[in-house]
């Protein structure tokens, strides 16, 4: 008898409350203040009552004067409601990186690069005191049982030097970033002596919007104003539209988030349980054979395009931000109303996907009549069914197995994924030694990782499109470099909390015990070693790019953007 298949307990809503400390009394207090006092509990279903949403999907955060609430550029999955006190939003100029816990982007000059020959410390991860020193204009404090909070020492000066806006009780902020998983655009800090904020995680915000018309309208307006307009302007097919036509499209465009933002945790559990069957966990956004209700534009996250094959589905491609689905079918149906075709492929969420949907009616009446014929995709024909001629079929470029491998492991998230061609790699470890030489004698990656056919994806930071490691860093130490966008860690502000280490689904971050210049381990007052998170920084400070790639004598190692499958296919065929 075959062994029973291992099973995986799918996480349920509210398996883990946002803050288990939230009491019923606090929920009652929330229900008595706007906007919740104006919400009608009877509009919420029994399984998702307003009280339950507030109890499980919110937490009360108290900030003192100067404490930073969110930083521009951070990724976050929650929105905030000002309950009491006042919060300031920095409109411009942006706060300098060092005030946000980040490292000023620097590149070593040629002399400093050469000086590494003799100036590199003898022991790995040794730091000078100056390297661990924070900007004197910020401080850190931690109350009993609370997260570490970073505060600005000189609030009046900030107010003097920066244009800011005041947020009063009852006002929301951070909802666009929470709903669309886009980086936060503004830094905010508490201005009053104490500010009480209600942090609502995205699932709660989504449900509140779903069952409360006023909130939905309010956030809808903000979203359309701030995010939708810029998103539509980026799409080539809309460039022929007048402002008036674009307004019509914008007014009727829908948006939504599918899947789960916390996919990193789920993905890790799936891999550990080795149960496979990830597709069972991927909600369908649009199914093959259905009528195309609208053009779907991926705004954030990723989606899998698949087609029925035998008794399963075969992955044809994955779509990332800026790519569209269903356009060809809608154009075909508009041009051939007597030969209407259904959707040719299924679109599934991988992890989470934030989409914008332009309804078919809007496309047919407002958009398509204004698009020149030469810019329209060709009509669907039986030839489309031939696997090798389908333009959407990335499997034809890189091989179906390779595409499944990249998709199953979610490697498409990487913009600088380390891929090693094992048929050419002589296992000489020159890449590892080069990495160590460029990073204080501590290599920032393992020449080890998942293998498909002749390719290995090494355990090195991929500098993800959706860097889940950046969610929840209390000090802003992990951030995108202001020059090249690489995900880097500032050792001066990293407090070794392991948030990024635990979040990274690819095990690309290591916690290391750091040393002083004499090589002795640094310890805290309780004599515990001081930990810092380290990872590949793509040699952001070095000249000439990633040392690992430059050190490979056989052209076996590449740092490549796996969203660019043409470049990847070219490298594979090399």
């Amino acid at each position: 008898m075959p062994a029973p298949l291992p099973t995986y307990d799918r996480p349920q809503r509210w398996d883990a409350a946002f803050d288990p400390q939230v009491t019923d009394a606090e929920v009652s207090r929330l229900l008595s203040v706007p906007p919740f006092s104006g919400m009608r509990p009877e509009n919420f279903p029994t399984r998702l009552s307003l009280r339950d949403i507030l109890k499980h999907d919110t937490r009360i955060q108290r900030y003192r004067r100067g404490e930073i609430v969110v930083r521009a550029g951070d990724h976050g999955t929650s929105a905030f409601l000002v309950m009491s006190g006042q919060v300031r939003a920095v409109l411009g100029p942006e706060l300098p990186p060092s005030l946000l816990g980040r490292r000023e982007p620097t590149r070593k000059g040629i002399f400093r690069v050469i000086a590494q020959l003799w100036a590199n410390p003898k022991e790995p991860e040794s730091f000078k005191t100056s390297q661990l020193k924070q900007d004197a204009r910020i401080g850190a404090r931690q109350n009993q049982g609370e997260e570490v909070k970073i505060f600005l020492q000189d609030v009046p000066r900030i107010l003097d030097e920066h244009k800011t806006a005041l947020l009063e009780p009852g006002e929301f902020f951070g909802e666009t970033a929470a709903l669309s998983r886009m980086p936060r655009t503004t830094s905010l800090f508490a201005e009053s002596e104490e500010a009480e904020l209600l942090e609502i995680r995205w699932q709660g915000l989504r449900d509140l919007m779903k069952y409360d018309e006023a909130l939905r309208k309010h956030i809808d307006e903000i979203y359309r104003e701030r995010a939708l307009s810029s998103a539509l302007h980026e799409i080539p097919m809309f460039r022929h539209l007048s402002d008036e036509a674009l307004q019509q499209v914008m007014a009727r465009t829908e948006f939504g988030t599918y899947g789960d933002y916390d996919w990193s945790g789920d993905y890790k559990r799936l891999v550990q349980s080795a149960a496979g069957g990830q597709r069972r966990m991927e909600p369908v956004i649009a199914a093959e054979g259905d009528y195309p209700n609208g053009v779907i534009l991926i705004k954030a996250g990723f989606a899998r395009v698949s087609q029925k094959f035998g008794n399963g589905d075969r992955t044809l491609n994955y779509l990332g931000a800026g790519q569209v689905y269903g356009f060809q079918e809608i154009v075909h149906n508009w041009r051939r109303p007597n030969a209407v075709v259904p959707l040719q492929y299924t679109l599934r969420v991988i992890g989470y996907t934030h989409v914008i949907v332009i309804p078919t009616a809007v496309m047919e009446t407002v958009v398509l009549p204004r698009v020149p014929k030469k810019d329209l995709p060709r009509l669907l024909s039986p030839a489309e069914d031939q696997e090798t001629t389908r333009p959407i079929d990335a499997g034809a470029k890189i091989g179906a197995d390779m595409l499944e491998f990249l998709t199953e492991n979610r490697f498409f998230n990487g913009t600088a994924t380390m891929v090693i061609n094992l048929d050419r790699c002589t296992r000489c470890d020159d890449c590892v030694r080069a990495c160590a030489a460029a990073h204080d004698d501590n290599p920032r990656f393992l020449r080890h990782g998942p293998i498909s056919d002749r390719l290995m994806v090494a355990n090195a930071c991929m500098h993800c499109v959706d860097p889940v490691c950046m969610i929840g860093c209390p000090t802003g130490a992990i951030h995108r470099d202001a020059f090249g966008g690489q995900v880097v860690i500032n050792p001066a502000t990293c407090i070794g909390c392991k948030a990024c280490f635990n979040n990274c689904p690819y095990d690309a971050i290591r916690m290391v015990e750091i040393r002083d210049q004499t090589g002795a381990f640094l310890v805290d007052k309780e004599m515990k070693p001081i930990l810092k998170a380290t990872k590949c920084d793509l040699c952001v400070e070095q000249l000439g790019g990633p040392a690992c790639q430059r050190a490979c004598p056989h052209g076996a190692l590449v740092r490549i953007n796996l969203n660019d499958l043409d470049a990847f296919a070219n490298w594979l065929k090399r």
Partner: protein, 274 residues
């Protein structure tokens, strides 16, 4: 991105053209320029010096000195070019004196070891990939120890569970030595599988004397034998990928030293360069 085939085509074309040009120039001017061997000698020495700089480039990975791949390609084709230069320098005749004989043989050995390295660097990675079971070379001893401990534990379990020493005796007689270290290094290099097959046959033969429980234990031990054999395979091939450099680099340094002495001797006994 230039393909490997195109890269090889460009390199080989360059090599053939420049080598042919060298041979032609040597023939053309050897009569007219009595001291042509000085020129070819200096060119050869300069080229060898440049080739040896590749090792220095490897020690400076953070300095932007072009990619190591480009350096290796230049190293290979410039290295092969030295063969033509060496041939014209010695006028196609191996020297007869003991010092120059050693120098010539050192050059030949450096050349052959480099060529050997090139061949193994291209051939062995594919074999490792095909075999699977990718492992870091430095981790092989600890994995081997783990396999040994698991195999020993299984043999001992059999002893206590079925009160029979058949499996344990077999382990001590046939497998203990196999698990203690890397085995069949040479045979793995030659892709000979007979030692593994022999062990597995012995395991199969033993099965007829065992009860069901012992057979299950022996099956698990057989699995470990296969894993250990795979580990030995990786050890042998990865070792070869590393050790050839331990011939090539010391020989290169010896060649450089002998070449310096050769230059001194040439100038000492020829009355200086003209």
């Amino acid at each position: 991105m230039i393909s490997f085939v195109k890269q090889r085509g460009i390199g080989l074309s360059f090599l053939i053209l420049v080598s042919a040009l060298l041979v032609w120039l040597h023939r053309r001017y050897s009569g007219a320029m009595p001291r042509l061997s000085y020129l070819t000698g200096w060119a050869l020495f300069g080229l060898i010096l440049l080739l040896s700089l590749y090792n220095a480039r490897k020690k400076l990975p953070f300095v932007p000195l072009l990619s190591s791949e480009l350096w290796l390609q230049s190293h290979i084709y410039a290295g092969l070019l030295t063969a033509a230069l060496f041939a014209v320098h010695i006028s196609y005749k191996l020297p007869t004196g003991w010092f120059e004989g050693i120098l010539a043989w050192l050059y030949v050995m450096v050349m052959l070891s480099g060529f050997f390295g090139l061949v193994v660097s291209r051939a062995i990675p594919k074999r490792l990939t095909t075999r699977g079971g990718e492992v870091l070379f430095e981790r092989i001893p600890s994995i081997r120890r783990q396999l040994q401990e698991r195999a020993e534990a299984l043999a001992l379990t059999s002893l206590s569970q079925v009160k029979s020493s058949t499996v344990a005796d077999f382990y001590a007689r046939e497998l203990k030595d196999f698990f203690e270290g890397s085995r069949n290094v040479g045979l793995h290099l030659l892709e000979v599988r007979s030692p593994l097959n022999r062990l597995l046959n012995k395991i199969t033969d033993l099965n007829r004397y065992l009860n069901e429980q012992e057979r299950a234990t022996l099956d698990q031990i057989a699995g470990l034998v296969r894993q250990k054999d795979g580990l030995d395979y990786h050890y042998a091939l990865q070792l070869l990928l590393k050790v050839w450099l331990f011939m090539h680099i010391p020989l290169t340094y010896s060649l450089l030293l002998f070449t310096l002495a050769h230059i001194v001797l040439v100038f000492a006994f020829s009355g200086g360069a003209r």
